[in-house]
């Protein structure tokens, strides 16, 4: 057991961006999740209560919403940020685990691949409302 040398540490200056972007994504998610929860569960609640609308979430309503550029941007941003924040958090946890930490580069690549595949899957679901 020995401490890493300064040169070794300099080569490993990779920890800043995951740490910094975790905080930035967390901060942005507070707003985006707030918008998402409001639009999904509260906006239009009055119409449902008054009987003007059968259910809160209907395909047509979501389609109307996603016809606006702002909501396309919000939903795609939400998808990307949730995936980044979640998988980066997972990476941080896995780094505490010996076998994963020993293969940190492979693990990070694996998580990026998982993120990209999941993003494509999520985007596909969103595009069903848009196209």
């Amino acid at each position: 057991m020995s401490a890493p040398s300064t040169s070794q540490q300099e080569k490993m200056v990779t920890g800043f961006w995951p740490w910094f972007l975790q905080r930035v994504s967390g901060f942005l998610l507070i707003f985006l999740v707030g918008v998402h929860i409001w639009m999904t569960h509260f906006s239009g609640l009055g119409d449902v209560v008054r009987g003007h609308q059968e259910e809160l979430v209907l395909f047509e309503i979501v389609k109307q919403r996603l016809a606006q550029g702002l909501f396309i941007f919000i939903d795609f941003s939400l998808l990307a940020l949730v995936l980044y924040h979640g998988l980066n958090g997972m990476r941080n946890i896995l780094l505490e685990w010996g076998p994963a930490a020993r293969h940190a580069a492979g693990m990070t690549t694996g998580l990026w691949l998982l993120g990209v595949v999941t993003f494509i899957y999520g985007a596909w679901a969103l595009l069903a409302f848009i196209l």
């Binding site: 057991m1 020995s2 401490a3 890493p4 040398s5 300064t6 540490q9 300099e10 490993m12 200056v13 990779t14 920890g15 800043f16 995951p18 740490w19 910094f20 780094l95 505490e96 010996g98 930490a101 940190a104």
Partner: protein, 245 residues
């Protein structure tokens, strides 16, 4: 005279299969008696082979750090009677965690000091500035760095840090605290280089802000604040270099 049971972990290494807990009945000679006094009493009166470290006996040297009833503390600064009260009448003493055990309560602090050396713990004078450089006691800079210069390098924070336990390459709280004290000091010329050193996966970013280091520090140093302060400095430095400010 009251008697208190002192339970000491005996063994030659952390993984020693023959390691065991040995109980000693120690007379509570006076209320101010410390755990270190009890260990010394055992060594002098019961078992001279009991191994532990000590030097100043007044909480200045940081030599007698141990884990007392599951919590890191200086043996000289922990009252036996109070510890017995917290431990249900028994005081359990074991060596510091995350460092190799040499024998009984004696650990090898080599790794701890290797990490300290890793952040270049000595002040690099600013070239061309004549000594002594005065930093007035009431200046904001002095008030920022002063608490962080109180470290006695006892290793209690390193033992209490769960990240250090999981990864022996993690620099640890004491080294990061020292780096913060130097980086915040205008008399030091190696700030940028030091920030580079601590801004690694094995440095700052591994700290999960658990506050264990701060909780056990016998000098009350806000170590977590130092680590957070370093993170802020690195963020500002990175963003400045990114936007070439």
């Amino acid at each position: 005279m009251d008697t208190i049971t002192l339970s000491v972990r005996r063994g030659s290494s952390e993984q020693d299969p023959a390691a065991y807990w040995q109980d000693f009945d120690v007379p509570l000679v006076e209320e101010t008696m410390s755990v270190l006094d009890a260990l010394t009493w055992v060594q002098r009166n019961v078992d001279p082979s009991l191994a532990f470290r000590r030097a100043c006996r007044v909480g200045m040297c940081g030599t007698c750090g141990t884990v007392i009833n599951g919590r890191e503390g200086l043996a000289c600064g922990t009252r036996l009677g109070a510890a017995a009260g917290n431990g249900g009448g028994k005081v359990r003493v074991q060596p510091l965690r995350h460092l190799p055990v040499i024998r009984d309560l004696v650990t090898d602090p080599g790794l701890f000091f290797d990490h300290l050396r890793g952040v270049d713990p000595s002040l690099t004078p600013v070239p061309g500035v004549l000594e002594p450089v005065v930093l007035s006691a009431d200046s904001r800079e002095r008030q920022t760095i002063s608490p962080h210069r109180e470290c006695i390098y006892c290793g209690l924070c390193y033992s209490a840090c769960s990240v250090a336990g999981l990864d022996s390459h993690f620099l640890g709280p004491a080294a990061l605290n020292r780096a913060f004290a130097l980086v915040s000091d205008s008399r030091d010329a190696s700030g940028k280089q030091r920030l580079q050193t601590v801004a690694s996966e094995k440095g700052l970013w591994r700290c999960h802000t658990i506050f264990e280091c701060t909780a056990v520090c016998p000098k009350g140093i806000p170590i977590t604040r130092a680590i957070q302060g370093l993170k802020r400095k690195v963020v500002v430095d990175k963003l400045k270099s990114l936007f070439r400010l």
